[in-house]
Symmetry: C2
Subunit: 188 residues, 2 copies
């Protein structure tokens, strides 16, 4: 990607993270980059095109990071703990992206940004669901709850990502008291 396109994308992400997706205009983005509107429209076509690229890149990086984890092999608690660490590693690496991605989490279905972001969150949910489905081979009692478990797991990650972003980090001592009840829930 060309340098100015990246600068625009980076600055847009920064501003969106700072004040919200709908509170930042195109004008301000290009001004902060010492560029003009036609340049942004040359690269991204429209405002939606800009946010679309932003979301796609961010979730691609998140998914790639999760992909680095070796395949699940029978020890689900350990696997999830690793995934937790992996997740928050990415949050720490690109906090602005998560601020933006989270900001649209509960937007109404008819909202433009929700329309753009939902597929990405859904893919994550699907990914988790597949994990829990695979795990039913070893944890048969989970059968029939894969969807619910994936949704709860995603909720846990989202909720504590919000906390991470507000407080600039997560006290490592809370990891255990957070994860333990969820892991317990897998077996009961």
């Amino acid at each position: 990607m060309k340098e100015n396109a990246e600068r625009l994308l980076k600055e847009a992400e920064r501003l969106f993270a700072e004040r919200g997706l709908e509170a930042v205009g195109i004008q301000e983005i290009v001004e902060n980059c010492d560029l003009t509107k036609p340049t942004l429209y040359y690269y991204f076509g429209s405002r939606e095109g800009l946010t679309q690229v932003l979301f796609r890149q961010g979730f691609l990086r998140l998914n790639s990071a999760l992909d680095t984890q070796s395949v699940y092999e029978g020890d689900l608690p350990t696997y999830l703990k690793q995934q937790w660490k992996l997740w928050f590693g990415v949050v720490e690496a690109m906090p602005d992206f998560f601020r933006v991605a989270l900001s649209a989490l509960y937007l109404p279905p008819a909202n433009t940004h929700q329309v753009q972001l939902k597929p990405h969150w859904d893919r994550l949910h699907h990914r988790f669901e597949e994990l829990f489905t695979k795990a039913t081979v070893h944890y048969g009692n989970m059968r029939g709850r894969e969807h619910l478990l994936a949704f709860s797991w995603l909720g846990l990650l989202q909720h504590w990502t919000g906390a991470f972003l507000r407080e600039g980090g997560l006290d490592p001592r809370v990891e255990d008291p957070i994860l333990r009840p969820f892991l317990y829930g897998l077996f009961s």
Copy 2:
């Protein structure tokens, strides 16, 4: 409150819930009520005044509903289950309000609507924290975790409220698998 003021408030809530707080203009609100802008400004002073009244009324009603629960008396799991039911009773009674209140949950701290809504969510968190603090009398092992537990409990409610609003309700059969791990977490 005067009739037209209530109509405006109700219509604003509906539109905000449908498309998001920042995607709806004053003009559209008043038009849908067959009124004009000066009328809205006569009653609410400004756009922020309108949303402020909206949030205040909604959270007042939520808190009032939670207040109907008798004081905690030593059986925390039962108390929380009741509170869960109470909460989702309110969600069902005023879904649009929760759509709006949730939509700003993860907005950046500098965002206007986040600024307006955060105090209300904080008050809820505070309320829950007090509950868990009281409960440490009977559940000493919770001591020192009151803040974390209140935050987790709030997160659980928010997450599943989102699900409720998307799907138009919550399968009562999921209540137990959701609550059980959290309640377990209280003791470990």
